[in-house]
Symmetry: C2
Subunit: 480 residues, 2 copies
Amino acid sequence: MDYALLLETFGRDHARHAWPRQRLLHECLRTAIRDGTLAAGTRLLATRALAQELGIARNTVLYAYEQLACEGFVIPDRRGTVVAGIAPAPHRRAADVPQAGLARRAQNLRIVNGSAGDGLPFTPGMPDLRAFPLAQWRRLLDRAWRGLSAAQLNYGDPAGEPALRTAIADYLRASRGVVCEPGQVFITDGTQSSLDLCAHACADAGDVAWIEHPGYGGALAAFRGAGLVVAGIGIDGEGMAPTVHDWATCRPKLIYTTPSHQYPVGAVMSAARRLALIDGARAAGALIVEDDYDSEFRHEGPPLAAMQGLVQDAPVLYCGTFSKTMFPALRIGFLVVPAGLALPLAAMRAQSSAAGRTAEQLALAEFLRSGEFALHLRRMRRLYRQRRDALVDAVARHLGDRVVVEGASAGMHLVLRLPDDGLPDVEIARRARAQGIAVNTLSTHALPGGPPCSGLLLGYAQVPGERMDDLVRRLADVVP
Amino acid sequence: MDYALLLETFGRDHARHAWPRQRLLHECLRTAIRDGTLAAGTRLLATRALAQELGIARNTVLYAYEQLACEGFVIPDRRGTVVAGIAPAPHRRAADVPQAGLARRAQNLRIVNGSAGDGLPFTPGMPDLRAFPLAQWRRLLDRAWRGLSAAQLNYGDPAGEPALRTAIADYLRASRGVVCEPGQVFITDGTQSSLDLCAHACADAGDVAWIEHPGYGGALAAFRGAGLVVAGIGIDGEGMAPTVHDWATCRPKLIYTTPSHQYPVGAVMSAARRLALIDGARAAGALIVEDDYDSEFRHEGPPLAAMQGLVQDAPVLYCGTFSKTMFPALRIGFLVVPAGLALPLAAMRAQSSAAGRTAEQLALAEFLRSGEFALHLRRMRRLYRQRRDALVDAVARHLGDRVVVEGASAGMHLVLRLPDDGLPDVEIARRARAQGIAVNTLSTHALPGGPPCSGLLLGYAQVPGERMDDLVRRLADVVP
């Protein structure tokens, strides 16, 4: 078929004309598959050949093909890419067909969270929920509810309950070197809410936000949702690595980074890099959004203090969450802002969002204050380290010659890096899933237009050590 | 002083040049007051005179003066407007001075929710929290927590717990004539979240959203936050009243309305108007956001069914909340979407927000299913009606010749309409507050640029009937 004609006809529509090429190509192919122009079983042109035919970069074609594969419209195999037989599940069909009334920006978003209840082994980002002291939590919660006055059923403090803000400030000072007063701590519904707040409060539509490449889809979604222009910045072994060219040509307003355990690759940002990033942000008048997820679980080497407290008055918005250290359904996270922004943000929160959940916040404050939280963390740190060791050993045994392990020194997941020109990681993940193993993929964390990357993310926090060997053996069966 | 020169100098900055006049004037005066150019005690030029001097509409000046009065920079008195002595509270000062790092859009927002714990009599939007069966709720909550498995501590269904979606669909079908399946019901953190979701999912930046004038500041904040262009549409005794000219010249994508009890004025939208609005929305390809707040409390006349179920496949997004029927700190609301949007929105939620709070949702489902919610509502309906009657009587006794009562046929608040050319309502509210009475004002619900309106909002739900006479007598002392 004539791809160029297809692309041209489809792209003639004014709105689409402004789309980035990979999005245009992706939509164009998807439409052709949906309406049967590209029938099931058709082998798509090889990426290199199509790139040549259309006069575009091969990466653009790769990206479009990968997106189609993620959505189930095509199936990559060893010889290339074949159009899938579409008898899509009702869910998939309805989600893909743009509906009357659905905004353009609500279409084609990236997945942020795994589906609910997805408890398969190696699902990343999932703590060991069985190890959480649930009975104790219930008791604290019940006590908080019993102590509540009728007035405390009203809207709460938009910045959060003072007792919880104080408990978090105390905890962060002691354990992360974060320098803050309780007034700088804002309680949110979790990191996604914190990122939304950063994006709306500290940047205007059209401002540039940097995120790591590959990076966290949730940050991408939050920043795009706020109308920011997102630029992907490369990483190396020391974490986010902006070049002089990046600073000069693409001046950021916000810089999102995950220094404790780069998501998804797992690099730990060096102290020198932290200082350089702070200096650069200051010179550019930018704020750093330090997502310190996974900082609680450092398995090797001395702990590195948060960037927020590294220098005086660091231009840092510091994000944390209890989703990983306690449990995701809790929906409580926090954002620590520079002292100068504390009062304006409190005013802003009062104006744009409604607060409450007083009993839950008071129970959590007590959980922190009583030392139970620290005790639970210590237990989990030990448990996760054991599981990491078991996983690393099993990978060495069964996959040692085929993958490179990265990001194992901290956190709750590690990465098995794959060759970029091999079987796409999403296809390996699909095959693993058929074996009852849920791995996430590096390529789906690549930003559109960035260089390709391929690898598997294995969350090990919820996998018992004694099951590692068997699971990795099964995974090895589907890794070429 | 030379206002015109001040305005011109200030407005020369490119960004400010594009501001609407009232905003420019407001900022200009504020800056002059802050830096002392306009010293404390200075009497500002009369609105009419300043309008003439600057060659702008008097409303523009009125708006700027009212904004300044709200913020405490000037004090209106019987002879005009005087610059306040600024020794502002730390809170106010910090919130007003733009801070390094604070986005432009995070400045000068409108207040959505009253400050936390503001329990003064007549605070609008506050249910009687003492009447809530808290012990029963605690029992349901504790039972839900006890029944939770470890897996239920994980992220929940992004659309909400199926049991709660079903219970809400059942309730809405039976009590509000809403036609929906559980799959169309989305659980949110409250109306503000529901409006955010509507604005992001069903409109793109630059699309037009209609809201009522005067109208709900929360809708304005949500729509502006999503980059929509907001247009104010006038209301009359039958509710929102778009003209032929509105439909022709300002085609909306979203139409926000509060048909059960127009916020803030309290008009109930007639059946004929409801049908006309649905027809108009269909013709324009728009979706109606029906905020059915206060629908549970109809004190006179037959209940009117929700617009959502009035005709088949109405183009309606239906919002509700448990903040008023239960208590605000619960932070649970819902959005019912057209069947065709249910699956795309479910996919979108999965991609852009994290869900949880499973135990709370299951407890609420049980509260609804067991009939306890309906019983509580019946009790509150009776109680609020008695309080409304007591308030209406007291107003007739003490204020009958000075105000017109509006919006008393439903809901939890009514409006005392004041003459537009009298003492500004915000000044009356300020004086009432000094008497320990918290009334909200109509003028602060006016959209920038719309015609002026003046009045007091009195929330009566939380005020015991036996206190009404005394409170209204005290209020009457400050109403000229």
